[in-house]
Every structure is written in structure tokens, then in C-alpha cells.
């Protein structure tokens, strides 16, 4: 029956091509919109992950509890009554039990690597020029393993942070503000009366102005000295083998610890919600376009069946049973679906290539054009949806055609 379906499609070239274009238009839209959206997401996710890692463990903000203060200041037998009970928040967030985390993370098979951090707001000065930055004290050799920061180094090497002599890597925006160059010494102060010279060993450029204008990296030890808090760690950034497991793993760790455990999705809730809306919009678009295309297929096949009543009658008289007639119409719909799907993903791919080549004149994550994703799953989804929509749309007319009896048709024709 396939052969006859094919011939019937060919005999209505114009109609077939139009409806094929309808289906391919739907697929094309989906592929290109998904390409741009997912590309944007990849870019944003990488930006976010550079700062938060898959899971971020940080000290929870804790209230001052009256009984704890009483217990630590008075012996057990004393009865204490407060006139003004102590309240408020503790002045620093710190991890309760860093070594405990260290042991746990080292033995957890899902953990790829982790890196302790201490973040401080600091003033960076070079001569008269001053900039404030969020200095992340980290362990450089671990940091490069869990983030892609190396990729974004504009000058110098991130690994040089592990050398002695107060090395620092500054964001490109920060470097510009204070006019700092590689190998230059700048003064860094964390506002506790300590000011130390740091040597610029690298300039990092993430391509996100907000971050580049306010970020700097230094050794954990140096920041601990700068903030006069030896041994303190405020965060542990963890990378897992499987990023998709981050939520589950984080939820589990949260159960067994007082510290705050956030996976990257939770830490960037707004962003993840935006992604969900984007996903919805994308699926809504492909759904509506394919719905229209499916209606097109349905209409065309229904009209065709009416025009081909005689042929259906003679096929039945010759001995082609209802199943064969169903196949005859169904194959045409499926052929249009497959053809439109293939054409659509082909054109969609070309459109993606073209979009990627457009120069926007401003920087987006290291280049002047949109990031476009070429996920195989997008193409598979687009193709399967197009074929599936066509299958559904052609099934109804095909079924109706298979129900026609040759006598009904012959009587009407006579």
C-alpha cells in the first residue's frame, strides 16, 4: 500500500508540498527556539555554576538563643533572670563542623570534588584608585577542578594563585576600575584594620559585566588572615559527577546537618522558574504550530478521500480490504509527517547556525552572538512530535475511509 500512498502524494505535488511545509514550519520553529533558549540557559547555567557550584554548603544564619547564652555564661546551678534578654543574630555565618564535612565529602561516591571558601567584601586599591570587590578565598587547585574558571582567564593563570606571596586574580571590570595590570601589587583591605599587598597574577573575564566588575579570587589562607578569622570556612562548593542529582543529594545532606545546603537550582530559584516558563512557552509554541499543521493534514486528507471515493470503491471491489484502505491514507499522513519533520529539523539547524552568526555588538559570555544549543534531544523531540501529530491527524480520515463500503460509494456515484 505504501507504493500507492506514495503515488497519490506525488500526484498532488502542490498540495503535498504545502502541507509538508506546514509541518516543517512547526518543527523548524521548535528547533530554533529551543536552540536559542537552551543556549541561553547553558550560558546562564555556566555563569551561575561558576559562582555556586552544584551544591553549596554554607553556615546557616542563626539567632542568638537566650538559653544558650545563659548556659555559656553561668554555671548550671545558678538561676538567671534577664532584664533585657539577649536577642539578635550571630555576627558571622560559619560552618559548624568543617572537618566533619571534609570527611563526609571525601568518602561520598557521588562527589566529584569540593572546595572550601571564605568570601569577604574587600576594598581593592591601586594608588588613588579604589574598587570594592567580593573576594573569594579558595583552594586554587580544587577550585579549578569544580568550575570552568580556567576557560575565562583573560591574562595570567588561575593556577598561579597557589604560589606564595599573596596572589590575587581579579575580574576584568575590577582591574579596569583600579587600573591594575598583571604582576602589579595592589592593596586589599577587609575593613578590620588590616591592609595587605596582593600581587595580581591573573585577570578573569566571565563576559558578564555584573560579575566581572565585582569579583576577585585569592587563597583561602590569605583571606582568613585578612579577615582575622583563622580556620574559618564560610562555604563549601561541591561538584557531583551527575549535575542532575544535585537536588536530591542536597536534600539528603540537609537532613543530616544544621548547615545550609543548597543545590544550584535552589540557590537560583528565580532563574530556574524563568527556565520553566521558557520551557512551557517552547512546548506551547510547538504544540500550537503542530496543531495547525495537523489540522491541515486532516483537512487535506478528508478532502482527498472525498475526491477519491471511486478509487476507494474499486480498490475494495478488487479485494483491498478495509485495513489496506486505512494503510493507504495513514501512510500518506505519516509520509508528510516524516518528510516535514526531516525538512524542519534540517532547516531549523541551518537557522540555528545563522542565528549563531549574528553579531549583536555586545558581549554575551565571551562572544558577540547568542549561544545556541544543538542538543540531539531537541531534534529528536521535534521529529517525534511532527510524526506523531501527523499520525493522529491522518488516523481519523483513514479510519473513516476504511469504514466506507463500496456499495455506498457506487450508489452515490450512479
Amino acid at each position: 500500500m505504501f507504493y500507492l500512498s506514495w503515488r497519490q502524494l506525488l500526484s498532488r505535488k502542490k498540495q503535498s508540498i504545502l502541507i509538508l511545509l506546514g509541518v516543517s514550519f512547526g518543527t523548524l520553529l521548535f528547533v530554533s527556539i529551543a536552540g536559542v533558549q537552551l543556549g541561553m540557559r547553558e550560558y546562564l547555567a555556566e555563569q551561575l555554576l561558576n559562582n555556586t557550584a552544584h551544591i553549596l554548603i554554607s553556615g546557616a544564619e542563626r539567632d542568638i538563643v537566650q538559653s544558650e547564652v545563659t548556659r555559656s555564661m553561668y554555671s548550671e546551678n545558678q538561676v538567671v533572670g534577664w532584664v533585657v534578654p539577649p536577642n539578635g543574630k550571630r555576627d558571622e555565618t560559619r560552618l559548624e563542623n568543617y572537618s566533619g564535612w571534609y570527611a563526609r565529602l571525601n568518602s561520598d561516591p557521588e562527589v566529584f570534588d569540593f572546595s572550601p571558601r571564605l568570601t569577604a567584601n574587600a576594598i581593592l586599591a591601586n594608588g588613588k584608585f579604589v574598587a570594592s570587590a567580593n573576594v573569594i578565598g579558595t583552594v586554587p587547585e580544587r577550585h579549578v577542578r569544580i568550575t570552568s574558571v580556567k576557560k575565562y582567564m583573560k591574562e595570567g593563570r588561575f593556577e598561579d594563585l597557589s604560589l606564595g606571596g599573596n596572589p590575587i586574580v581579579v575580574g576584568s571590570g575590577v582591574a579596569k576600575q583600579i587600573g591594575a595590570r598583571l604582576d602589579q601589587f595592589i592593596r586589599v583591605s577587609a575593613g578590620r584594620g588590616v591592609e595587605k599587598p596582593f600581587k595580581v597574577v591573573g585577570i578573569v573575564h566571565f563576559g558578564n559585566q555584573q560579575i566581572d566588575d565585582s569579583i576577585a579570587f585569592a587563597q583561602l589562607r590569605d583571606i582568613q588572615v585578612l579577615t582575622k578569622s583563622p580556620g574559618r570556612v564560610s562555604q563549601i562548593a561541591v561538584a557531583l559527577y551527575d549535575i542532575d542529582r544535585s537536588t536530591e543529594v542536597a536534600d539528603f545532606w540537609q537532613l543530616i546537618s544544621n548547615d545550609k545546603v543548597e543545590d544550584w537550582q535552589e540557590a537560583n530559584k528565580m532563574f530556574m522558574e524563568m527556565i520553566k516558563v521558557q520551557d512551557f512557552v517552547r512546548y506551547f509554541i510547538i504544540f500550537s504550530v503542530l496543531l495547525v499543521a495537523a489540522f491541515g493534514i486532516y483537512n487535506v486528507l478528508t478532502i482527498m478521500i472525498n475526491q477519491k471515493r471511486r478509487e476507494i470503491a474499486i480498490l475494495r471491489a478488487i479485494g483491498y480490504g478495509p485495513k489496506r484502505i486505512l494503510e493507504l491514507i495513514l501512510y500518506q499522513g505519516i509520509l508528510i509527517g516524516i518528510g516535514g519533520g526531516v525538512l524542519g529539523i534540517g532547516l531549523g539547524y541551518l537557522l540555528c547556525l545563522w542565528i549563531e552568526s549574528i553579531d549583536f555588538g555586545f558581549e554575551i559570555g565571551g562572544k558577540n552572538s547568542l549561544w545556541v544549543a544543538y542538543d540531539v534531544s531537541t531534534y529528536v523531540t521535534a521529529f517525534v512530535s511532527a510524526t506523531f501529530a501527523s499520525l493522529i491527524a491522518s488516523f481519523l480520515p483513514a479510519w473513516a475511509a476504511s469504514r466506507m463500503t463500496p456499495m455506498d460509494i457506487i450508489r452515490e456515484e450512479a
Binding site: L4, S11, E311, I314, I318, G319
Partner: protein, 221 residues
Amino acid sequence: MIECKGIIKEFGNPPTRVLHGLDFQIQSGEFVAISGRSGSGKSTLLYIISTLDSPTRGEVHIDGRSVTKMSVQEVHEFRNRFVGFVFQFHYLLPELSALENVLLPARNLGLEEEKHQSAMELLERLEVANQHHKLPGQMSGGQQQRVAIARALIMNPRYIFADEPTGNLDTHNASQVMALLKEISQSEKTTICLVTHEPEFAAQASREIYLVDGRISVPEA
């Protein structure tokens, strides 16, 4: 052999009776003409004995099998292998060439390779072999009807049912088609049932079933 017992056919609601309890037999190899005026029920009868339609009451036995008891699959296979149809309109598929149209019944059984040779011979015999690659739209009415006859003959059927096969043709082509059917009936021993309203063609058959208002009328001698 086709055996009809008490064939009644009614249409519509309230039912109008078109055929009034017909009993007759058609022997193998017979050339039977079913004739009568328009509205006499001759086409209805043809479609009932040819398995395309079913009677409201009564039974049709073909080669000893009751048509009403055959499954959809069996009916179609029976038509495919043993029955050839020729209609007033040729009903060729416009997308397919003459040869492909002739081979359609064979294709359904996966026999188009084996039947290719005999299809060409049939077209030769019907004097349309030089048209075999043409689409139906490129042929004349007479040529189209001959291709349709070739399609009816391709499986060497036991039965040929023809509903006014000459109705749409000019006198010359019509008599050629009639001559052809007669020839087939003689050379292949095929049972042929022909519906026609032209007494001249009905007379060429070996037997005539003349219908008047849904009843078989005994011809006055």
C-alpha cells in the same frame, strides 16, 4: 455456481422493497445478461450476487459457500482471487499507468512480478498494449474501459460482473467490448453476469434474466 434463494432487498426508512424474493441459479461458464428498465433493480441484484452488497433477506451461495457467513477478510480475498469487476465508469486510479492499474489485484497478493507478463499479453489482446505506460487521463474512453477489463481479467477470475460496461461508450467501442466479453466467456469458460438495459446486448448472452419492478419476468415466447 451462484445460487440465490429468496433474495429480498429493501432500502430506506420506511423500507422500500426493490427486489421481491428472487430465486435463481447461474451455472458455471454461463453468460447471463440481467436486463430491465432503469429502476427495475438490475444493478442492485448484480451487486448482491457479486458480494459487494448484502441482501436484506435471503441467501447467496457462491461455489457452495454462503456469502453472508464469510468474514470481511474472506470476502475480500474471494473478490481478489476469483472475481473481476467492470463498471460503467472505468474507475481506474488516475495516479497509476495503464499497466500498473491492470496489476493492482495482483499487487494486493504480492504477485505483480509473476503477472507482469500476462498483463502485457492482456493489453495486447485488448489492443491497448502501446498505451501501457500512459496515465488514464491520457487515454480515450474506449481505451480506458479496455484497460479496466484487462484489470478484471488479470487474476483469471471465475466470475466477471459487469455493470453497464458499454453505458459510457460509443456504438463502435460498445460492440467491441461486448464481443470481447463473449470471447472471454467462450475461451476461458468464465462465468459472466452482465447488466445492461440494451436488448441488443442482452440478446448476445446465453441467458437473459429480465427484471420488472424487482421480479423476474418470464419472457413471452
